[in-house]
């Protein structure tokens, strides 16, 4: 029970900080804060697919791109309502996620990783390239979207949009947490453990894996759509292949199984380049830092930084836990 209280305490404290601190920040930092909240949803989509099912994915940004450009083309090109467009965007990315999931069903580990890289490049280099599908990608002109309003409340102000994005993250995190502690989480962990044993007790492995792919892609699409409204415009370079690699690497560093890790990971994704921009070091070195952190971390703390930190804290206050090793580190043993 104390574990539970510790967790609730952390969540409340984190939320308070997340709500109050940005109030005192400048517009610019409030804007960055909303970007963090949106990216946290994107990292959550990775928690779902990599953390729960144990499938690595390098194309989460591609799914986000589908969300962003669906919103962009519908709102910017056809003047749809943002909310309707967002719903379509989530559905569309979920469908594409399922399509990617179909070949992925037959593959595991390394081969799936290659497939997702191929998908990411296909998006990056072909689908979003000017001239391929301009009514979707916007061609050379970025889509203009602007900020929506939510039940009559305008979200134009930077704090307003931040509050909205934070609320969206909290809701999504709550949903993902519910999945994790419910039947869904149990079934997915069973599939990760042994697909054959899972099917022998009546679990439809194919269906659940596709559902997880669809769900994860849908969440990424949601993040993409929200990001589009946050920035107010979408253009292809924000969704290139290296972004996908960086976010997958960062999620691994932070520990792909933890929802808190997703939030901290998203914070690092925006925060570290921001901090770097105030030092003589160029923010371009961010990916270098992630790369080094990834290598160092895998050699010294394979279960992920956040998991390791919580472990350390628990050990300090005299409570040790044994957690199962994260999916990433054990899943590929069976290829």
């Amino acid at each position: 029970m104390t574990d539970k209280r510790l967790r609730h305490g952390t969540i409340v404290a984190g939320l308070l900080v997340a709500i109050v601190v940005p109030l005192f920040l400048s517009d610019y930092y409030q804007y960055e804060a909303s970007e963090i909240a949106v990216l946290a949803i994107l990292v959550l989509s990775l928690v779902l697919i990599t953390g729960f099912v144990g499938q690595i994915s390098f194309c989460q940004y591609s799914f986000a791109a589908i969300g962003a450009f669906t919103v962009g083309s519908l709102v910017g090109g056809h003047h749809w309502s943002f909310w309707l467009a967002l719903v379509v965007a989530v559905a569309f990315s979920a469908v594409v996620g399922i399509l990617v999931g179909i070949p992925a069903l037959r593959l595991s580990g390394l081969f799936l990783a290659i497939l997702t890289v191929a998908v990411a490049l296909f998006f990056d280099r072909f689908l979003l390239a000017p001239g391929t599908w301009d009514s979707f990608s916007g061609g050379l002109e970025p889509w203009k979207i602007g900020r929506p309003s939510f039940v009559g409340i305008g979200l134009e102000g930077p704090y307003a949009y931040y509050a909205f994005a934070l609320a969206a993250f909290v809701v999504v995190a709550w949903l993902v947490w519910n999945l994790r502690i419910g039947k869904t989480g149990r079934v997915l962990r069973a599939i990760r453990g042994s697909e054959i044993a899972a099917s022998m007790i009546g679990i439809d492995v194919t269906l659940w894996k596709l559902a997880a792919f669809g769900l994860s892609a849908g969440l990424a699409g949601l993040a993409g759509g929200l990001l589009a409204a946050d920035v107010g415009a979408v253009s292809p370079p924000s969704f290139d292949f290296l972004h996908s690699v960086t976010i997958a690497a960062l999620a691994t560093v932070m520990g792909v199984e933890s929802i808190g890790g997703a939030a901290v990971g998203a914070f690092a994704l925006i925060g570290i380049p921001e901090i770097l921009s105030h030092t003589p070091i160029s923010p371009d070195y961010f990916q270098l830092i992630v790369g080094v952190a990834l290598i160092v971390q895998l050699v010294f703390a394979p279960q992920g930084a956040i998991v390791k930190m919580t472990e350390d804290v628990k050990r300090l206050i005299g409570r040790s836990t044994t957690d199962d090793p994260p999916a990433v580190t054990k899943e590929l043993a069976k290829v």
């Binding site: 519910n178 039947k183 869904t184 149990r186 962990r189 054959i196 099917s199 009546g202 439809d204």
Partner: protein, 255 residues
């Protein structure tokens, strides 16, 4: 009347014949023993019945229905449960979670009700944990609900796996060497538990094991496989005296 009919089933891996033209019927309510030396094709037969491998030829009928084309999870849902020779518990999960999974698989409860914590979710959660606890109780496994499966001793894990298969409430239970790794006391407990399970749930069982004493004690009928072929079939008293069996299996054991 037969619950499981295996008719002329052959399985070939590349050029290797794992099973050749195996035929036998398991009657309802029977504890059916399948014995044979290592490599005789017993596990392959289990895999064919549960859908892990496709037979090259032959028919498998369960409960008056041809099941050869069905996917593994469909067969499980029809009522075929199984334990594994090399334990296949979900090691990182608790015992209770392991046992709830077969109930989950049947539950009309999915991602949506889980995500929003709809009433169906908590209802099904309670139902699953109740059935899991009742099954644990039946096998004298109370009090280990929250232990991680991997932290248990092997003998205990075997019983938990048996309990997990039972949570499916199978009509047919395939037991792949349930006594391997068990000490004499645990084996005796198992021999006592199997008839009790049959009495309680009316479960038909197909048992594979090397422990001839166990097989002779609990089975109503025994079929002997050797090099993928049936060499003898009948009640324990008959099989015990069969020349070929003694040569192929019992003799080898003695030597």
């Amino acid at each position: 009347m037969s619950l499981l009919e295996v008719d002329g089933v052959s399985v070939r891996f590349g050029g290797v014949r794992a099973l050749s033209n195996v035929t036998f019927h398991v009657n309802r309510g029977e504890i059916f023993g399948l014995v044979g030396p290592n490599g005789a094709g017993k596990t392959t037969l289990f895999n064919a019945v549960t859908g892990v491998v496709r037979p090259t030829t032959g028919r498998i009928c369960f409960d008056e229905q041809e099941i050869g084309h069905l996917k593994p999870h469909k067969r499980a849902r029809l009522g075929i449960g199984r334990t594994f020779q090399n334990l296949q518990l979900f090691g990182a999960m608790t015992v209770l979670e392991n046992l709830m999974l077969p109930v989950d698989a049947f539950a009309r409860r999915g991602i949506v009700s889980d995500a929003f914590r709809l009433p169906t979710a908590s209802f099904e959660e309670r139902r699953a944990s109740e059935r899991a606890r009742a099954t644990l109780h039946l096998l004298h496994l109370d009090g280990i609900d929250d232990q991680r499966a991997n932290d248990l001793p092997v003998g205990m894990q075997r019983r938990v796996e048996l309990a997990r298969a039972l949570c499916l409430r199978p009509k047919l239970l395939l037991l792949d060497e349930p006594a391997s790794g068990l000490d004499a006391r645990e084996t005796a407990e198992l021999a006592e538990a199997l008839p009790r399970i049959r009495e309680r749930f009316g479960t038909t069982m197909l048992l594979v094991d090397h422990d001839m004493a166990l097989v002779m004690r609990v089975c109503d009928h025994i079929t002997v496989l050797d090099f993928g072929e049936v060499i003898c079939s009948g009640p324990p008293e008959v099989v015990q005296k069969d020349e070929r069996v003694i040569r192929a299996y019992l003799g080898e054991e003695v030597a």
